[in-house]
């Protein structure tokens, strides 16, 4: 049986049909861009199934191919000292490799990029300080140099002229130590700033994450050609911000804190003579983007003024960087709120005026470890989170420049 269907369509029906067939294409053209490159924005949590194991992130650096290198510490909850833990991720945050080093303990930030490699300071069980070189192939970091005389390394940073600053605590002399290294980790000078009390127990509890975190940090300011190095640490009977000569570490000025209740939490130079100082005082946090600070006299942290930020968490860690976002130089001040969100504030470097704020994350406790600019012009934010409200884990946000337009 053959059925021959002879169909004759009126012209109006053909026009109607064509119109309807074209409609989807028209609507599709009108649809805004909804796909993105794979690596622009993401958040990753690096989880471990052992709920007795703790991770504490310390620093992140973007390396070749927009991959990331994460320095952290890790330990079972039954031990005291954590061991170094390194994580290499792809550009979308996926783990490429991870490695522990059980021969050393207590790694400290920052990751130091010098001489074409990546390094960090840590300690051995005899409390001596060591520099380990990170192998980007995922093999265990290897010993680069040792400094047995330096005990309790606390924080390291790199200066604009390539030198390396390390602050540590001398348990014998009860003093804060600042050491300046050349790019090859050879000592240029080392100076001690004595404390009156014995702070060893406080330092141990800080490094083992068993008690309050102290905002140990180092850095530099350059109000003139020579400038000053600074170190935040125990001095006399308080936690103080010390300014020293870059030539020999000689103390030039001090901003005294208040014992266990007030101290500086970050300092950054925003312009030739402008600085942003953050501080905490009795459960409140203050940000002063037009601070008047002397590097050659003795002053008090409670006199440093600034705007109160009630939403910032008690004694919060604050990380400040100067970078370039969407073609504009900007100061990025990052911390966490009492509602467990990462708070990122953006300040104009010339005027100190706050230009924008961003909030990330929610629900579970979080603390900030590090913020670094990315090659594509955004930010990577490393935090510690408590997964499911319980397990201390590493969390990494990548924020695209589009999310930071203001």
């Amino acid at each position: 049986m053959v059925i021959d269907l002879k169909i004759k369509l009126p012209e109006s029906a053909i026009s109607f049909l064509l119109l309807l067939l074209l409609l989807p294409g028209f609507f599709t053209m009108c649809t805004k861009k909804t796909e993105m490159e794979p690596d622009e924005n993401w958040v990753r949590i690096y989880d471990h199934s052992d709920y007795n194991r703790l991770f504490n992130p310390l620093d992140v650096k973007e390396i070749a191919d927009q991959n990331f290198l994460v320095l952290a510490s890790s330990k079972p909850d039954t031990t005291v000292w954590p061991v170094p833990f390194l994580l290499g991720t792809g550009r979308e945050g996926d783990i490429i490799w991870s490695v522990y080093n059980e021969n050393y303990i207590s790694p400290v930030p920052d990751i130091i990029q010098t001489d074409g490699g990546y390094y960090f300071f840590c300690m051995d069980n005899a409390l001596g300080t060591h520099v380990l070189k990170i192998n980007l192939d995922g093999s265990s970091p290897e010993l680069y140099k040792s400094f047995a005389n330096f005990t309790y390394p606390l924080f390291a940073s790199k200066t604009t002229d390539g030198k390396i600053l390390l602050t540590s605590y001398n348990r014998v002399n009860r003093s804060t130590v600042l050491t300046c290294f050349d790019p090859g980790f050879s000592i240029i000078w080392s100076n001690e700033y004595p404390a009156i009390e014995n702070y060893e127990e406080k330092v141990r509890l800080h490094l083992t994450r068993q008690d309050s975190n102290f905002p140990f940090f180092t850095g530099e300011v350059k109000p003139d050609a020579s400038g000053y190095y600074f170190v935040n640490g125990f001095y006399n009977f308080v936690f103080s911000l010390l300014f020293v000569s870059p030539l020999n570490g000689e103390l030039t000025g001090v901003v005294n804190g208040i014992p266990y209740s007030a101290a500086a939490s970050s300092l950054i130079q925003r312009s030739d003579n402008g600085y942003i100082l953050t501080r905490f005082d009795e459960n409140q946090n203050y940000i002063n983007s037009e601070t008047s600070i002397s590097f050659v006299s003795v002053s008090n942290i409670t006199a440093m003024g600034g705007t109160s930020w009630p939403e910032i968490n008690r004694n919060a860690i604050v990380k400040s960087i100067k970078t370039n976002i969407n073609g504009n130089e900007i100061i990025v001040v990052s911390t966490v709120t009492r509602s467990n969100q990462v708070l990122i504030l953006f300040f104009d470097p010339e005027t100190g005026v706050m230009k924008a704020s961003r909030y990330f994350g929610s629900t579970y406790p979080v603390s900030i470890a590090s913020v670094t600019p990315t090659d594509e012009g955004g930010l990577a934010v490393l935090t510690r989170t408590y997964v499911a409200g319980r397990f201390s884990r590493i969390q990494l946000f990548k924020i695209s420049p589009e999310k930071l337009e203001f």
């Binding site: 004759k8 649809t31 993401w42």
Partner: protein, 253 residues
């Protein structure tokens, strides 16, 4: 001719790429947070439509049927942590997600009818374009502690929220189906089974991490998905005028 149509649908998400906030450091064990989607028969929804039908001849017509569609699909993600590498103590967290999507679909389809009686089978096919009207997400999180002696629920919470940022505003694809047309002279009744293939991805990639309620609290981000939607419909069609003369039909036996 105009009419009304309605029925039930079943959504099958087709995953083209999976995403997970969790990355396992010890990858030698099962990964937490991987989503498991429920099969289509577990995802019932419904739709109702207005039908405008233009009869081309006695065997073929073209339909335009603006449709309000309610799509549901479900998935779950499981997480676990064990004590010192053994199963003697463990904490499990299970999160069940229900995604509810409302679309205004604009399908255009051809229908080819067979036979000449009052009950005639037909096949149909065409294109559709849909606008997302609303999206709601409901999640239930349950945490359980277990040891060798017993298992205890630690916590169970349910939360609902806006999911519109997670999806693109448009969805398009093609339809294919078959059914029966029952001519009662005054009205015509239809029963059809239709397969709706979305050819574009409905996940909004730029919004994948945008709702912090889900990323931070539930560790949930959307996979890249397309929607495949089988549906069953019944309809009623009212002639607006006297039916035109049938096309010439020549049968050669």
């Amino acid at each position: 001719m105009i009419g009304l149509k309605g029925g039930i649908n079943f959504v099958q998400p087709v995953v083209t790429k999976k995403f997970n906030i969790f990355n396992p450091i010890n990858g030698d064990i099962a990964q937490s947070g991987t989503k498991t989607y429920r099969p289509f028969y577990s995802n019932p929804g419904y739709q109702y439509a207005f039908t405008a039908l233009y009869k081309l001849n006695n065997y073929m017509d073209i339909r335009f049927e603006p449709t309000f569609s309610i799509f549901n699909y479900k998935y779950r993600a499981d997480y676990f942590w064990i004590s010192n590498g053994s199963n003697s103590e463990r904490i499990d967290m299970s999160v069940r997600h229900l995604q509810n999507l409302n679309y205004l679909d604009l399908p255009v389809s051809f229908r080819l009818l067979f036979g000449s009686g009052t009950v005639r089978p037909f096949i149909q096919g065409g294109l559709f374009y849909g606008f997302l009207l609303n999206a709601i997400k409901e999640s239930q999180k349950t945490e359980t502690y277990s040891n060798e002696l017993n298992s205890t629920i630690l916590n169970s919470t349910t939360e609902t929220g806006n999911a519109v940022p997670l999806y693109v505003r448009s969805r398009y694809g093609f339809n294919a189906g078959a059914g029966f047309d029952y001519d009662l002279s005054a009205v015509r009744l239809t029963l059809d089974i239709n397969l709706n293939f979305g050819i574009n991805q409905v996940t909004n990639e730029t919004g994948r991490y945008s709702v912090q309620q889900y990323t931070g609290g539930l560790y949930d981000i959307q996979d890249n998905i397309r929607l495949f939607v089988p549906s069953i419909n019944i309809g009623i069609i009212f002639p607006l005028q006297k039916p035109p003369a049938r096309s010439k039909l020549v049968c050669l036996i």
